[in-house]
């Protein structure tokens, strides 16, 4: 038998219109395959994200009434150690008198504490370099060259506002979202 012939007399094999149709079908199939693959891969990638119960642990309330001046406590928020420090007036003055131009990550102390509560510093105690816990919470710990915290892993020095002053860390210790629920209760997260 001969090749199929269309009503307009063109053969399939040398029809320009059919070439275009074939290209279109080919690309449309490819596009559908790509979309389908992406749709199939997405749940598996998204599956690796923090689960709902992990996200549910996102806030912590702390009573700081017993933390005296010059003392620090470490609480756990989202599995991370969070430092709450009752700063001395000397530490507050040190933190406020720094020339912002000298800081690797310039930020005024007033932006890192609540107005009127400058004595309370709340920071995430995770070094912004590679995630170690800086020393400085316990009496006798190395506090670094700036009287704040010192990370033993790769030698980052933080000041009394938790700002990076020296070493490989690129950013200040993070201030978590928090608020004073009452005079002595801090809600973090």
């Amino acid at each position: 038998m001969s090749e199929p012939v269309h009503a307009d007399g063109h053969h399939d094999a040398d029809s320009g219109m059919d070439e275009g149709r074939r290209d279109f079908l080919f690309m449309a199939t490819g596009a559908m395959a790509a979309v389908g693959t992406a749709a199939a891969v997405w749940p598996f990638l998204s599956n690796l994200r923090p689960a709902a119960d992990t996200l549910a642990l996102a806030s912590t309330e702390v009573n700081v009434a017993s933390v005296g001046e010059g003392q620090s406590i470490t609480v756990v928020w989202r599995g991370k150690p969070t430092f709450i420090r009752h700063r001395t007036s000397k530490e507050i003055t040190e933190a406020q008198s720094v020339n912002l131009g000298d800081l690797p990550d310039p930020q005024a102390d007033s932006e890192r504490v609540k107005a009127g509560d400058a004595k309370w510093l709340v920071i995430v105690g995770v070094c912004t370099h590679l995630g170690c816990i800086p020393l400085g919470q316990k009496t006798g710990d190395a506090k670094g060259d700036y009287d704040g915290w010192f990370c033993p892993c790769h030698g980052s020095h933080y000041d009394t506002s938790g700002r990076i002053r020296k070493g490989p860390a690129p950013a200040n210790l993070a201030v978590p979202p928090y608020e004073f629920v009452s005079e002595n209760i801090i809600k973090i997260g």
Binding site: L45, L48, R49, P50, A51, T54, T74, V76, R78, G79, K80, P81, H129, L130, G131, C132, I133, C151, P152, C153, H154, G155, P168, A169, P170
Partner: protein, 406 residues
């Protein structure tokens, strides 16, 4: 290739349906191997042997291990104390990782010295670098599983490397962790991947061997096989030589497992993970130390991470950086020196990585890092242009100089 005639009727029955015996005959008996291979050529088969040791001991360990933050540490201690020969299997697995890396690093430096990465073996080399990367990922995740202090903080520091990526870094790290810190979801997925990756390695090893058998082994002279007189059948000559190597490796390996099983470990890892206290001095396992030194040598977070990954990435393009047509360092007087300097540089970086990043160690690790990259990116390309090689021999079986350089 000639198909062998098999006399055993069962072998013939199988061979007719699944040509596995002729394949074995072809790859083992007919496969021509240079007759001048020295003991440095043992380390490929030794690496394969260590992979088998790791998979077998790992599967047995997994039958008593619990991947949960509350039970992992205790389950490993139970393996050590209560499970029959658990201590032996765990010490084999633990030290096996170190020996796997010892063998593979010697294998890699053998390739560097004898120019085994050059045409037509570039893909063979690249597959080898892929295996190295997979091994590093597997070893890192395996080290997390006992859930000791070094496990936890090693996992924290290494996963935090990805936070150096601009803009999306923090999100990637949270995604890797499955939480806001290294925690139970992290331990679970690391266990799963640690179980999977060795089989991926085995798959790439098959490709590595397929690429090897395409053009056969390089040899200490680095010249191509010219005739049958240059070769020996792989079996029995090299199977026996490889077995002798396995015996020697096992002797040393079992001596360490028996008498110094914790020599290459860290005492801190026998302290259960505490997410609130970082040990004063954290260091990775010895096989990561040179890369760790490169990471710390760069005084910038993102820069350090890029340099560390680049230290391995540069190996992928090595066949195109070293354009000299001469393979073996025996006939390259300047490359011979540079090879030993590079080896010394890598050992120096290892010591830098083991020491705190202070004082002289910072200076040394910076010098070492600059030299490491200079070796590959500057010295090797220049050498290809200016080095005058020594005359190559006529052939493997005829050592008289050919009077030509290629």
């Amino acid at each position: 290739m000639s198909s062998p005639e098999f006399s055993n009727p069962i072998v013939r029955w199988i061979e007719y349906r699944l040509p596995v015996f002729s394949m074995l005959h072809h790859e083992m008996h007919e496969y021509p191997t240079p007759r001048n291979l020295n003991y440095m050529w043992n380390f490929g088969s030794l690496a394969g042997f260590m992979l088998v040791v790791m998979i077998v001991s790992g599967i047995v360990l997994s039958m008593n291990y619990t991947a949960h933050v509350d039970y992992a540490f205790a389950s490993v201690e139970r393996i050590m104390r209560d499970v029959d020969y658990g201590w032996l299997v765990r010490y084999i697995h633990m030290n096996g990782a170190s020996f796997f890396f010892i063998v593979v690093y010697i294998h890699i430096f053998r390739g560097l010295y004898y120019g085994s990465y050059k045409a037509p073996r570039e893909l063979l080399w690249i597959l080898g670098v892929v295996i190295l990367l997979l091994m590093m990922a597997t070893a890192f995740m395996g080290y997390v599983l006992p859930w000791g202090q070094m496990s936890f903080w090693g996992a924290t520091v290494i996963t935090n490397l990805f936070s150096a990526i601009p803009l999306i870094g923090e999100n990637i790290v949270t995604w890797l962790w499955g939480g806001f810190t290294v925690d139970n979801p992290t331990l679970n997925r690391f266990f799963s991947l640690h179980f999977l990756l060795p089989f991926v390695i085995a798959g790439v090893v098959i490709l590595h061997i397929a690429a090897l058998h395409q053009h056969g082994s390089n040899n200490p002279l680095g010249i191509d096989i010219k005739n049958k007189g240059d070769t020996l059948p792989f079996h029995p000559y090299y199977t026996v030589k490889d077995l002798f190597g396995v015996g020697l490796l096992l002797t040393i390996f079992m001596a360490v497992v028996s008498y110094a099983p914790n020599y290459m470990g860290h005492p801190d890892n026998y302290v259960e993970a505490n997410p609130l206290v970082t040990p004063a001095h954290i260091v990775p396992e010895w096989y990561f130390l040179p890369f760790y030194a490169i990471l710390r040598a760069v005084p910038d977070k993102l820069g350090g991470v890029i340099a560390m990954f680049a230290a391995i990435a540069v190996l992928f393009v090595l066949p195109w950086l070293d354009r000299s047509p001469i393979r073996s360092a025996k006939f390259r007087p300047v490359y011979f020196v540079l090879f030993w300097v590079l080896l010394a540089d890598c050992i120096l970086l290892g010591f830098c990585g083991a020491n705190p990043a202070e004082g002289i160690w910072v200076v040394l690790s910076r010098i070492g890092t600059v030299y490491y990259f200079a070796h590959f990116i500057i010295l090797l390309p220049l050498l290809s242009l200016y080095e005058r090689p020594i005359d190559l021999p006529l052939s493997i079986s005829n050592p008289s100089p050919s009077g030509s350089n290629a």
